[in-house]
Amino acid sequence: MRQLGLGLAVAAAGFAMALQTARADEELPIGVIAAQSGSFVSAGNTIVGAANLAAQQINDAGGIKVGDKTYKIKLYIRDNRTDVNVTIAAARELVNDIGVKAIWGTETHDFSVSMAKITGPAKVLQFSGNSSLGAVLDDKAVADDGWLHYAFQSEPQEWQRSGSTAKGVLSLLTPQLKSPPKHSVVFVGNDATGQYLSSHYVKALEAEGQKVDLVQYPPDTTDFSPLLTRIKGMKPDIVHFWYNGDSTLTAFPQALKLGVAPSYFLFGVDPGIYQERSLKADVPVTLSCVPVCWGSSPYPEVKQYFEKYFGLGAAKGPQSSVSLLYYDYFFWYAKALEKVGKLDDPDAVVAELLKSDYKGVVSPVPLVFNKHHQVTFATEVCMVEPNTSDQFKCAVEQPPAAPPPGDNGG
């Protein structure tokens, strides 16, 4: 009887130890809010793709060691249906019902701003890849008691992206034209992102010596021919199809048919898409990717990343490279958590992110957040040889050191 009791005690102890081991890997709840349906689905899906890949890699590598515990990332992915009300409801659910420690998303400026008003008071970190957040990320907003203290902009400031893009486009196109280009027309969608992005890009082009005209089209335009005809009458040297890539893919063939300009620049159209769609122009065309191209990347790390990214079933689209605005920050956040050693000290994690750097896939130079919680990295610009769909010449342009005259940064 006594032996039986001893045996039971040993068995119970063994069971408890097994239970302890099973509990050693705890869950780190992380939220992702992205448009998996609706009009922003092509950008939204990239966030989900990047999050799945990053979480899988971190978990496969053993998880995140915080203090004496190891955590495996548990993703809570919510489709915002490209609707601000659903975004808010999802953010409330993730923050208050589930208790996530950080949220990745969204793809839209308006939604990210509304979300930050929920994540901020709850001290939940938010990583959003909208350069337009620069309009609200200032000293007061990111202060310890500011409403954006826990928000991070995972895309460079727009004057940086615009500056590197303008420089790259002009340096690739100038040798291809009979005379140096002097007159640019920026063709852009007239919505929040389009307005914000073009306000910086126009100044970046002007800083490069261009005379610039801005032509805006209403969002959801499908027939661009009246506006393109007007642009043709302006006799530009380069037409810059600025934000957004999806509309550009509709407008660009119309421009080619009309013979609007002797050269073009297509923002956010990956060489991979250009090739897949068999686009062809008899004039030089430049392309840029946000931030680096999946169709023609100079970095082996980026090539490996996209092999794995598409290997998980992510679709190849004009905005697939946007996933790189979100991927690295999972690893950086994990690194910061390990350094802080506590899961429930978001202020310490914010401080650690601000003083640390991280060498990720998106940039060969380690990523650093500035005092306004924004990163800096280069932009890749490619040129397609005329009359080809698959001959690309690519260059990586570093951002300028300071905003151009008339641009107040942000």
Partner: protein
């Protein structure tokens, strides 16, 4: 050998068909003006109020509560649309823009003059009412589809003005505001408190709609809706009443817009464009513009259907389209009419009398 009475069978089948068609007629009739017993009205109101008040305590989660808030402020806007469409027969497909007038007025007052929720609310509502009246001026000369086109144009114009309004309107990026100014002991940053704020506004909208419905003013509006020329011939100032109801509708829209602004705390032009306006028109038709709870029912269907059935936006639009077709074909009075008809069918009350009932018959 059994004897079969075929004629009796035929008669029975015919009677069955008659009963079936009678039941169908009962269920599909528009009986907005058929009065329900006062006790039924009171019990319905109390049950609904208790349910809505208890909602945050049911443990349904923050996501549910967030969508409930969206539903309630949308319903407030719909009550305005319900009044002008259901009572006066003036349909608008630009109602979101009228909500936008209220929202932007409040946001601009906050950004430019530092006015908070409570102080900017009356100005915003008043401005929405005035704009509602101004848009309504053409209805004095044209009506029906012409007014619908005018409201659609206003909606498009409003978005263009906001998008190109520079820092004053925040352009396409929009404007930000802070939290609702707290009342003593009540912090509206707490989601349940925000819910009760919007719910209180909904109760006001419901009460106002009910009172208008049973008032002489409501009867006059219905007279105009049914026969404008006849109403004019008996001395009703049709123009004044039309403008009046559009301004009242504007008041509701302004209130809804300000509540929306302080819930989202960030607004941009896309929230008040053609698409949201069409959704409002859809909601009011689905729910039933002539029924007291019709706009609320419409808002609940459109806001919760994608949640409950996990529909993406494309599927949702298909579902709304099918719902609208079904409503037009089977329930011209909307789902509100259907619910009332079911009640009438179950209790043996008359559900086929479509007009001429008491003015307090809005169920």
């Amino acid at each position: 050998m059994p004897v079969t009475d075929n004629s009796a069978g035929k008669t029975g089948a015919a009677t069955g068909r008659t009963r079936a068609s009678h039941r169908l007629a009962l269920l599909t009739a528009d009986n907005a003006s058929v009065p329900l017993p006062a006790s039924v009205q009171a019990i319905t109101a109390i049950l609904l109020a208790v349910l809505l008040i208890a909602l945050p305590w049911l443990g349904l989660g923050y996501r549910f509560l967030s969508i409930a808030i969206t539903t309630l402020y949308t319903a407030i806007g719909l009550y305005g649309l319900g009044l002008q469409f259901g009572q006066a027969g003036i349909m608008s497909v630009g109602h979101a823009a009228l909500m936008g007038v209220g929202a932007y007025a409040s946001a601009i007052l906050s950004v430019q003059l530092g006015l908070g929720f409570w102080t900017s609310l009356p100005f915003a509502m008043a401005l929405s009412a005035i704009v509602g009246g101004v848009i309504g001026l053409p209805t004095l000369r044209v009506g029906g589809q012409h007014y619908i086109i005018i409201t659609f144009c206003f909606c498009a114009l409003f978005v263009i003005v906001l998008t190109n309004g520079g820092t004053f309107t925040g352009s396409a990026t929009g404007l930000d505001v802070g939290s609702v100014t707290p009342l003593p002991g009540i912090n509206f940053d707490k989601l349940s408190n925000n819910y009760y704020l919007v719910l209180a506004a909904l109760f006001l909208a419901l009460a106002a709609t009910y009172l208008i419905g049973i008032s002489r003013y409501g009867r006059t509006l219905r007279a105009i809706r049914e026969n404008e020329q006849l109403a004019r011939s008996v001395g009703i100032n049709v123009d004044l009443h039309k403008l009046g109801v559009l301004m009242v509708s504007g008041l509701f829209a302004g209130l809804a817009g300000v509540l929306q602004l302080y819930y989202l705390r960030h607004i941009s032009p896309t929230l008040f464009g053609a698409f949201p306006s069409l959704y409002l028109a859809l909601m009011v038709m689905l729910g039933g513009a002539r029924y007291l709870y019709g706009p609320l029912i419409g808002a609940v269907i459109v806001n919760f259907l994608p949640e409950v059935l996990n529909l993406d936006p494309v599927d949702s639009r298909i579902a709304y389209g099918i719902c609208l077709l079904l409503v037009i074909l089977l329930l011209p009075g909307g789902v509100g009419a259907g619910i009332k008809n079911v009640y009438c069918a179950l209790t043996g009350g008359s559900g086929t009398q479509t007009q001429g009932g008491g003015s307090n018959g809005r169920a």
